[in-house]
């Protein structure tokens, strides 16, 4: 958690400042995404961001859930559910970033 946390402050803030504050949401379209993803550096950046941010979020969510779910069966079900949620969305996102804009 702490390692991802320290990395996420610059990763998320630069991502948000660049796309939301400098580019502006109304200027973001398929061409913009294609332009950003044409650079290997930004692809690596986005992949790192996805991996760290989503794992960090799922781990934090798990911590909150386990504060309330004390029963071991409930915890096992939650673990299974969270694991699939994490792996599916991570794979969907990573596939998008790595293979780029579709046709």
């Amino acid at each position: 958690m702490r390692l991802s946390a320290i990395l996420l402050v610059p990763l998320v803030w630069i991502h948000a400042i660049l796309n939301t504050l400098i580019a502006g949401p109304e200027n973001i379209n398929l061409n913009y995404v294609a332009m950003r993803w044409s650079s290997i550096g930004w692809r690596i950046y986005s992949t790192l961001l996805l991996a760290f941010a989503f794992s960090h979020g799922i781990t934090g969510f798990r911590q909150i859930l386990f504060d309330f779910a004390t029963n071991s069966t409930t915890r096992r079900i939650l673990n299974l559910f969270l694991f699939f949620f994490w792996i599916v969305l991570s794979l969907v996102g990573a596939t998008g970033i790595i293979s780029g804009v579709g046709k």
Partner: protein, 134 residues
């Protein structure tokens, strides 16, 4: 579990722990809110690969006042979560003495102040973007 959630949430509201307690609650609320956004964000951005013809339409659908308010709130969540997370990591790793009274609540209050200071320029820029002024 339902009973635990009820007890937990009512405890979050009724516990009179001052600034430190409210930063703890806000850290959880902001984390959950950001995770909800992030899940939708991953799915939406992945349409650029999986369904490129829908990407621009989906994005345009998000340019409405409700989404703008949600985005501005999200900006505060992300800033707050980062600042507070930094405070927690720093104090826990290097200055454990700051957890105790009276410095604990002081650093918690500082978290709120720093977050607001960082959030206000973001708020202004986001509003200007939405009004197409920049």
């Amino acid at each position: 579990m339902i009973k635990n959630i009820f007890n937990g949430v009512s405890g979050y509201i009724s516990y009179r722990g001052g600034a430190s307690h409210w930063t703890f609650v806000m850290h959880r609320v902001s984390g959950l809110g950001t995770l909800l956004f992030l899940s939708m964000h991953i799915l939406l951005e992945s349409t650029a690969h999986f369904a490129p013809h829908y990407y621009d339409r989906l994005n345009a659908g998000l340019r409405n006042p409700f989404a703008l308010v949600a985005e501005i709130l999200l900006a505060f969540f992300v800033i707050f979560h980062g600042v507070n997370g930094f405070r927690i990591a720093y104090i826990d790793l290097f200055r454990k003495d700051l957890w105790s009274l009276p410095s604990g609540p002081k650093t918690a209050k500082a978290t709120w102040i720093i977050s607001f200071i960082l959030w206000i320029p973001a708020l202004i820029i986001m509003l200007l973007h939405s009004l197409k002024l920049i």
